[in-house]
Amino acid sequence: MPPIVQIDDLVVEYVSKERGEGVKRAVNGLSLSIGEGEVFGFLGPNGAGKTTTMKVLLGFMPPTSGSASLFGTDVRQPIARQRIGYLPELTYYYKFLTTEELLRFYARIFKIPKAETEKRINEVLKLVELEGARKKQIKTYSKGMQQRAGLAQALINNPDLLILDEPTSGLDPIGRMKVREIIQRLKEEGKTVLFSSHELGEVETVCDQVGILHQGELKEHGPVADLVTKHGTHLEQIFLNVVGYATDSESPTEVEIPKEESP
């Protein structure tokens, strides 16, 4: 079965806005493949290149070199985005709309027939637990509700692939738990999910596979259980080891990391 997401030797460079910094490389030779029904967690510190990779997948920016495809179609073709749902980090949706109107707006973009739109709206609002607030304007929503409205818009076209950029960022523990539950349910439905997060526990719970990105390079990649066995420690320590934080003797939270086993 062909992969849902295929990235080959991806390089993304951009001109830095900082004076004298010139061209910076955000992603450096990234190759990745995500199969159908997998939940893939993208880990990495801020500036590691996670969001940039997602931006390339969504066609927001072109790759400097290498290639990326979704469902076998080059990401630069708008049709590649027909079967995906995307939730950006902290978005403020059209405040003057109700969630129902917001979902109708996005459904129209996907050319979903009216009867199916209404059915789909009911389904996704039930999934994200916003049925009671469907006729309220988004400006009256809490942050958690807005994020769930965002998830609803990402699901309106019943996508086969979901790309979620830090979906629990800025949410309280209950909000996080609800979003996590939704991802779990989507996983059970067989959806392919690619999401980035700083919450390592969350990734460990939800993901089949993880990739740890650091300075634009994929440092570790594989099923969580395999990585834990390979390194003989939990995901958080593997992450700290990969990003080089634990080896810093000046670090305020110095931790002892076991030596890496040879592959």
């Binding site: 978005t91 707006f105 129209r108």
Partner: protein
């Protein structure tokens, strides 16, 4: 091109307009000023009617220009600032679709606004003047709408050049003021200038959009007979050319803009 997406974005802009207060405030202001002037009767009957029509139409022009420019100027910057452009562009939508959807939405929103204003004007005119001419009224409305189309496209293109909504709106409003007030006389000024200033001014005179072509206020204020339809069609074509020119610029700039 995703016409369904273009239409969805257009209806979103119209919905935003009637859920905001701008339009209502300007309409009520226009109505109150016009009606209070209409209540005063210190001129002879013919004079007061023309005077009232002129005031009402001037207020409609000012209000509609403000609504068109402000609405168009904030569309794309607001999408970028609120980050709603990200889920939007993550759908099967091109950036050209977004620009066209925003343009169409602003045009429809301004069309509805103009219709409300002109119906109010017709009601005021009909109450004071028995010689109300429907064809002239319709031609003035149509030409006014065509003029707003150029301004909307100009403001959309400007919103991709200037970072702040306020600076873009101010520049477009100043440019509109310049075009309506000075451009029509620029050829006479050019004639008195030495070279190369003469050529520069003449170039500006012929290249900038002559918005005054679309001002048919005198036609209805003085109850003149309607203009022939050929000059109207020609003026609409002229408006379409400038609108298309600014929209192409907007599409090219938006395609090059880094998002996110």
């Amino acid at each position: 091109m995703n016409f369904s997406a273009i239409w969805a974005m257009a209806t979103l802009v119209v919905r935003e307009l009637y859920r905001r207060k701008d339009f209502y405030v300007l309409f009520i202001l226009t109505a109150v000023i016009t009606l209070s002037f209409g209540a005063v009767n210190f001129f002879n009957e013919g004079g007061i009617v023309r005077y009232l029509k002129e005031i009402c139409l001037t207020l409609i022009w000012l209000s509609s220009i403000a609504i068109a420019v402000m609405t168009a100027a904030r569309q794309i910057p607001d999408e970028i600032e609120r980050k709603t452009v990200l889920p939007l562009l993550a759908k099967p939508v091109t950036r050209t679709d977004v620009v066209l959807g925003k343009y169409l939405g602003c045009l429809l929103a301004c069309g509805i606004t103009l219709l409300v204003f002109y119906v109010f004007f017709a009601a005021v005119s009909a109450s004071k003047d028995s010689t109300f001419q429907l064809v002239s009224w319709f031609q003035a409305l149509l030409m006014h709408w065509a003029m707003l189309s150029i301004l909307i496209a100009m403001a959309l293109a400007g919103s991709l050049v200037f970072a702040a909504v306020s600076s873009n709106a101010t520049i477009v409003l100043l440019a509109t003021g310049f075009i309506l007030g000075i451009l029509r006389h620029l050829n006479k000024v050019a004639l008195m200038q030495p070279e190369p200033m003469q050529t520069i001014l003449y170039t500006a005179y012929f290249c900038l959009p002559h918005l005054e072509f679309f001002d048919l206020r005198d036609l209805i204020v003085h109850s003149h007979p309607a203009v022939g339809w050929w000059p109207i069609l020609l003026a609409l074509f002229y408006a379409d050319c400038f609108t298309a020119f600014f929209l192409v610029i907007a599409c090219v700039l938006f395609k090059r803009k880094a998002i996110g």
